[in-house]
């Protein structure tokens, strides 16, 4: 009997001989260790190396050799923070950030290198004093029966009831000027819910991928993204969507969804981009890192990381700016009038 037990124990212990400990990343909490940890984290997880190489010739190995000597010259953590922040800025991605007690390192040039194309002072001339607010969305009815809706952020989820009531309040207007300029993003599902308010049926609007390994080209096959039909009130009249370079991340995603709808025209400047869903991690010293991890492609399978071109390119003119007029809103109103004029002509 004891022999049987011993043989059983032998069988039990045999797999144990294969067992090893699964441990954390092997980088030390030193300036060099934190540099290596950050560079490797990006090297293995960041999802836009192929696009960055094609768009602006990024060579991530060259970045390593450029910044490695600078790390050795750092005298304190504040200097290290600056060097590491500069290193990740080489990716030119607003979703790649480094956070610590010294602040947060952002790459802003995707917005700062381009015209503002938005003024909240001028916007006041259109919103007036009687605008309504629902779920953070400001809206009003402009003269000539045009609805104006400003969505400045997707940081909060919208209630379906709130969106339905907003659209019902604008039911006497001919069309909507949907303004998302300077909307830096937020919750992806908030953008999807608002876009659903303009979709009467489920439509294919893009693809999503994820990394399957540590290589720069290790990606899953694209899975289809759908825009669901609206559950409440659905707006099917003309919509002109206003964009500028400040439209980023979830707001860029919103543009990608809306442009697939037949009654929507995108007007303004190219969006800022930011189509990679960011994930978070940390360095050995506890500094937080955020990076683009899951690329989202449009319905044609194209990356929108570097922005989406509008259907109608319009910039704010200096003359209008000085006169308190919003060139984009005025052009949007014209488009809606043209739409109805064409219908009248056909009839």
């Amino acid at each position: 009997m004891s022999k049987r037990f011993l043989s059983y124990i032998a069988c039990l212990l045999l797999p144990l001989s294969l067992i090893g400990c699964i441990e954390e990343d092997g980088f030390k909490n030193t300036p060099a260790g934190n540099f290596e940890a950050l560079w490797n984290l990006m090297d293995e997880h960041y999802c836009f190396f192929p696009q960055a190489a094609e768009e602006f010739g990024l060579d991530w190995n060259a970045v390593y050799h450029k910044y490695k000597p600078l790390v050795n010259e750092c005298n304190d953590d504040a200097e290290l923070f600056d060097v590491l922040g500069d290193m990740i800025a080489e990716l030119r991605d607003g979703h790649v950030n480094l956070s610590s007690e010294y602040g947060t390192k952002f790459y802003w040039n995707w917005q700062l290198d381009y015209p503002l194309n938005f003024s909240d002072s001028i916007q006041r001339n259109y919103l007036g004093r009687d605008f309504r607010v629902t779920g953070g969305i400001r809206y009003t009815e402009l003269p000539d029966s045009i609805g104006y809706v400003y969505v400045g952020t997707f940081s909060n989820q919208f209630g379906t009831g709130n969106l339905s009531q907003m659209l019902l309040n604008l039911k006497n207007t001919k069309g909507l000027v949907l303004d998302i300029r300077n909307n830096g993003g937020g919750i992806l599902t908030a953008a999807e819910r608002l876009a659903s308010s303009f979709a009467k049926e489920r439509i294919h609007c893009g693809y999503i991928q994820h990394k399957t390994g540590k290589g720069h080209y290790d990606f899953s096959s694209p899975e289809k993204l759908y825009l669901e039909a609206g559950r409440g009130t659905v707006w099917l009249r003309p919509v002109v969507l206003l964009t500028n370079r400040g439209v980023y991340s979830a707001a860029n995603h919103f543009v990608m969804l809306m442009r697939e709808l037949p009654n929507v025209v995108v007007l303004g400047d190219k969006t800022g981009g930011g189509s990679g869903m960011p994930l978070n991690s940390t360095l050995p010293n506890g500094w937080a890192v955020r990076f683009s991890a899951c690329p989202i492609l449009d319905a044609q399978g194209r990356h929108t990381e570097f922005g989406i071109e509008p259907d109608v390119k319009v910039n704010m003119s200096s003359e209008d700016w000085n006169n308190g007029r919003d060139t984009m809103i005025e052009k949007a109103k014209e488009l809606i009038f043209e739409y109805y004029n064409k219908i009248s002509e056909r009839q």
Binding site: L12, P15, L41, H45, I208, P278, N280, S281, T282
Partner: protein
Amino acid sequence: MTNVISKVAAFIAALALLAIPTTSRAQHFVTDSIIPERIVVRSTTYGASLLNSLDTYLSGYDYTGAALYLQHENFRDARTGNYRWKFQTMLNGTLGYTTQQYYGQIVGLASYSWGGYHPFAIGKRLKLLAGVQLQLEGGALYVPGNGNNPVAAKLRTAVAASGMAIYRIPIGRVGWTVRLQLDVPMAGVMFAPQFGQSYYEIFGLGYASAVVAFTHPVNSPSWRHMLTLDIPIRCRRHSTTLRIAYTGDIFQSNINYIRSHIYRHALSIGFVKTIFKIKQENVLNAYSPY
């Protein structure tokens, strides 16, 4: 009558082999007129655990901290088979908080296991049991500030090889009982997202076809070891059994380039309750106040 006495004697012998402490009340209770069908030894212990968690889906570095720990065990004879099999069910709960530099992580895990054992007696006081255990565990590691990847969900089931050694230490009239148990998962399945896959894609969009992985000791080298000490306590006419338990729960996995481990070392304390289940016909012969 001789037959009944021999059955009782056999039963008591089986009880000794089981080496789970019986209370003094139980010894008074077992008479030649009552034959327990089986004995269930039930214990609940509460304690604290040291916790070390890693999941490279959240961070590449360990979170360490402490947790509250609960363990409930049910150990009984087989209903049939001449009491040659013993069955154990165990429920473990862990709720803890761990930190890494500036960040906190909430850990919640619950596990259930069911095992069947065959006893091997070696000597008078030592008993060895070997068997198979079915394990089920679920829970999550939650880092509130982690944006789109705040959670690493844990869900796994496995078939484990399990063994225990039980020794009765001759202290006092009843004796203390020490038990060492080792459970090693041999094969199973677990929830395992792909390397860079977001939970939005899995749960929000429903693309979850490749999130279940086969586990074995190479890609998920895990085990649980447990040491318990049962101490009979008698106070006047009342008696009970105190249990002090140490449980080491080592879970590890390296699947889809995501490395994970949860190390728990728990010390818990509680009481053991021994329940004698009696056949209905024997109940009729038992003492009744009516």
